[in-house]
């Protein structure tokens, strides 16, 4: 197959020129990204790429837009281009992994995600996603290391109710439970609670932990009570009620 020439075009035509993209262009791009209008986004991206055709932010934003618009092939096309220009860029690889996940190509997704995480900052999206997968598949041992590092960095963001921070804290706590480090788990759950996290899944997990490992029933009831107040998910509510019964039955 005569492979598309596009990849070949990604070669930098000249390395001798400093490419300075004006900050305002990024700001413009940032604005239009929120509007999710393809025409505007492409226009904003093209302005940046016209200056630096391998600009990471522009290419990634374009890929993110296409990903979110479920145009996964387009997202992949752009990400492939980004990776070709920036082989060590974890953002592109992380997003490419997500594209693969969306296309139900898990094998490729995991490969890409692992590549994205390799050498990446501990709190990178790739690590976040990877630990999420580890935790989902109860590979707590692998998850714990990165999670502890990420957690130390994002703990402070819990107050902002950052979804990533909440998810990471939750998964970190679950991993601690999975590795039977209950003391740490309790601390983790507690910090989330203290930060005012209202995520029902995290609260449920905390409730499960308190019911099974908690030393203070009152605290457990508090969590259950809060959970019952926050959730409108009947299925979850029933589970919570079962927990409450277990707690009731506990000496």
């Amino acid at each position: 197959m005569r492979k598309i020439l596009l990849c070949a075009l990604l070669i930098l035509p000249s390395h001798g020129f400093a490419k300075s993209v004006d900050k305002s262009l990024y700001e413009g791009l940032s604005k239009v990204m929120k509007l999710k209008n393809e025409k505007n986004i492409v226009e904003a991206v093209s302005k940046i790429l016209a200056i630096d055709e391998n600009d990471v932010k522009a290419l990634n934003s374009l890929a993110v837009f296409y990903y979110e618009a479920k145009k996964y092939n387009m997202a992949k096309l752009v990400l492939d281009r980004g990776i070709k220009a920036h082989p060590n860029n974890q953002d592109f690889k992380n997003n490419l992994a997500l594209v693969y996940f969306a296309k139900e190509e898990k094998r490729k997704a995991l490969v890409s995600l692992k590549e994205a995480a390799t050498g990446a900052k501990s709190d990178s999206e790739a690590n976040l996603n990877l630990t999420s997968i580890y935790v989902e598949h109860r590979d707590y041992e692998k998850a714990l290391g990165p999670l502890s590092k990420i957690y130390s960095k994002i703990k402070s963001k819990l107050k902002t109710k950052s979804r990533a921070a909440v998810a990471l804290t939750n998964n970190y706590a679950v991993s601690q439970v999975g590795t039977k480090d209950y003391a740490s788990a309790e601390k983790t759950f507690k910090s989330a609670q203290e930060a005012g996290v209202r995520d029902t899944n995290l609260l449920y997990n905390y409730a499960v932990f308190m019911v099974n490992q908690g030393k203070n029933k009152e605290d457990a009831y508090k969590v259950i009570s809060r959970l019952k107040f926050l959730t409108e998910d009947q299925k979850l509510l029933r589970k919570v009620e079962l927990l409450e019964k277990t707690l009731d039955n506990k000496k």
Binding site: S14, N129, Y134, D139, V166, Y204, N212
Partner: protein, 1046 residues
Amino acid sequence: MVGKILKYLVIAFFFSSLLSTSAYAKRKKTVGDILRKIEKVKIKKKKTFLPESSKYLAPKGKVNLRSVKPPASNRFYYDEGTSEQELEKITDEQINHLYGMTQKFSKSKRRGELWVRLAELYVDKAKLIELRLQTDYDNKLKLKSEGKIKSVPKLNLKPAEAYNKKSIQLYEYFVRDFPKDPKMDQALFFLGYNYFEIGKKKAGTKKYEQLTKRFPKSPYVDESNFALGEYYFEREKWKSAKKHYDQISKNKRSRLYSFALYKTAWCKYKTGRTKSGLKDLERVIYEGRKAKGGSGAGGKVSQIRLASEAAKDIVVFYPEVYKAQNARSYFTRVLGEKSTDKMLGKLAFYYVDKGNKSSAKYIFKQLISADPFSVKAYEYQHEIVKMYQAAGNQKVFKKELFAWIEDYGPGSLWRKENKSKKKLIADSDKLIESTLRNYILQLHQTAQNSRAKYSQKLAKDGYDMYFSSIKDKTHADQMNFFNGELLFDMQDYVGAAKSYNKVVATGNKKGKYYNQSLLNSVLSLEKKIPSASEVQKIVGKSKEPVPFTTNLKSFEKATLKYLSENDKGGDTVAIRYRLGSLYYYFRQYDKALPTLNKIIKDNPKDKHAQYSVNQILDIYNKKEDFVGLSSVSNQLLKVPGLSKAAVAKITKVKGDADYQVTEKAIAGKDPLAAADELMKFIQKNPKSNHLTLSKFNAAVNYEKAGKMNKAIGLYNDVMNSRVSAAKDKDLKKKARKFLAFLYERTGQYAKAAGMFEGFAKKFPKDPDSTSYHFNAAVIYNALDFYTSSIRNYTIFQKRSKGSERNDVNYTIAKMWDRRKKYPSKAIAYYDKFLKGPTKNPASRIEAAYSIARIHDKLRRKSLSEKWYKKVIYRQKKAGVGASYAAEAKFKLIERNDFKAFKNIKIPANSAKMAGAVQKKLGLLNKLQEKLKLVVAYDDAYQIVAALALQGEAQNHMADSIYRAPIPRSLKGEQVKQYKAGIDKLAKPFKDQALVSLDASIKKAYDLQVYDKNVLKALSLRDKIKPQPMVNEMKVLKSLWLSRAGI
């Protein structure tokens, strides 16, 4: 891309380099090409007419001497030297006197005598008037023939006739009143005479006849016979005339004897009796000689004068009777030795007139040898020369001419002998010069008319002789000029120029031939100017001034001389241009520029001004001095009066020059600076021919500088421009091509796809068009523009061959597969792909697997299994695609072996229970064995899957045993024992299941396999041995996009 940019920068450089090279053939037009189209100037040499031959050379035809008549008879009534005027005066006095007498004695008896005497005087008076009128008439005729007077003279004899009439009146009175008077014969004679004179011939004849009848012995009979003879003579009735003359010549004593004899000689001559006539003339001469020696005329007609006339007439009669060789002895005998040479001279001239050249030449030569150093000798030889020249006998003429020049010219003995006669010498030199000159000019004329080389050579020899023998410079200019003309015609241009230059060298600017020689010298040397190809050879590739050849130096010198004296007008412009262009061709630019500039300044409307413009511009162009070219273009545009074409050309060249300046300016500059420079040019020259190229190059440089938006804008300009030049059309095409890539590079994929497809459609024969369809297809595919994508893939496929063509089927199959709604189309394309060639065997396995998967999803069990088996088979054969084969194998085992195993129920019937358990156990073993085949593919995911399935099967085995119905026959403790036995039987399977599941999970963690099979294993394990808390806990498994700071 870099390669492509370089390519087009090379193109741009190529355009510029054209301007600085000398090879132009078959290249696109450049400044140089435009300028080099230089029209050659042809200065046409004017034809100069040779001067007409002088009067000496007027060709003489033969003269019909038979028409010669003797002089009028009345001339012979008076002796030579007699004054007619005096006579007339005396006659008038006598008439007056007698007239008075007649009046006084009008009634006298002797009045008749007075009448007769007065009548005689009237006759004399009439004769004198007639003579005077006749002489006057003859003179006027001569003047007319010489062109000195315009009006045709008329002979009006009425004044004379008036006296004749008066005489008739008196004689008639006399005959009437005195019929018996003794002077009656006289009266009758004069009546006859007067009637003849006034034209009344009949009346006159009647009177003469009365006279001869009535008075036969009267002395007036001779007179009347003579008058009658004259009457017939005048009417060329020679015989009748002779009859009356004979009556007179019978009487030697007659007053009219010699006269009658003379007229008789002429009558004989006219009637062919020349010899006899000659004898009569000899007699007349004899009588004249006698009379000269005697006492006088004695009332006779002047015999001396008659003899003198007869001697002259002998020259006319002699040639018809005797040969030239006898002339000397004849003339000596008849006329005496003293007159011989004179008469021989006349005879020779008579021969000349008669056209008898040999006789004339004989007599002339005889006369010359008789007195070789005489003036006449020189003239006679000249006459010979003239004679033969007029006759056109060139050979003899040339010989006689050279003899003349040699014998009488400078250095001759004749000249030495006559050196004291300075006027004679001068005249002879003049005559020789003029004769030779005229002869040469005549030869030249012949050569000019005939263009024959022989004639030209004759003329050339003539000129050579002239210059070698004639020292007098009076006509040197004329001869040098015409010699130049001849040599020019003979294509001896250098010789011609030398000849013309001799005229110029005299410095006689007012001379008739000076200016023309000045010009012709230039034109002659111009002919020796080398041709364009010769110039090319001489000049070669030199960029330095090349010295002129000898001929060119001469041309330059002559031209500068001409121009110094002819600043304007005529051929000045063309000549100046010729010199200027030579300077130009020989790279002598310092000389060329002022020369060409002067043409433009002085004659802006002349075509040479335009040529000069071309060359001036090209000089700067060749010097690659584009700044200078631009500057000089500006200066030229300020010259008023230049033609529109010239202005247009200058404007165009200026635009080109400015472009070249820009090109030079950007050389070596970084692309951004270069592009900005080009933009300045574009802004300054919005109508430049290089506009498209400039925009294109600016775009290329902007692109190179990373200013792709600017590049896109300019490429769009180029693409949308209206151009006609092929090179610009090519740039348009390339701009479209580049735009496609630029859109792609700037993330404008939809536009890029459109541009790729647009280009491919517009230029289907372009070598890249097929690839561009492919590019468009790829982008459209990514954009989920399926129809557009497939349209382009299809075109690409049609134009492709082999595996590349077949691979498109795979891509299209995947597209349909992705769309999910068209599984049959996906299957059809996968199938099509599998039937064709490919260089990627793994894709075959994947394609087969995809077909199996689609069938599987559509619950087409047999078809899916068939294709799963194909996957296994093909993988085994190809050695690639193990993961697909492993998965296919796993799926076949799962749906067949595992399902068959699961389907075996353990009955409550204890008799059948063991058999069922055994059978199930057998299938479990078989399943486990088959799962080993899956593991053998060494695919991590399928290893995990196989272990998980094994765990599931073991767990199922255990559960089946546990769930087996308790035989109804068992009661109480038996049941307990039974259950213990069951547990003992089932538990190992449970334990094995836990081991398998743990192994699956552990393998998954080890191999980093995280999929549904791991989750399944975890789930099963939770059922067997739940992990505290975590099995209940929820995992937040959201995936996070990296937004890279945006």
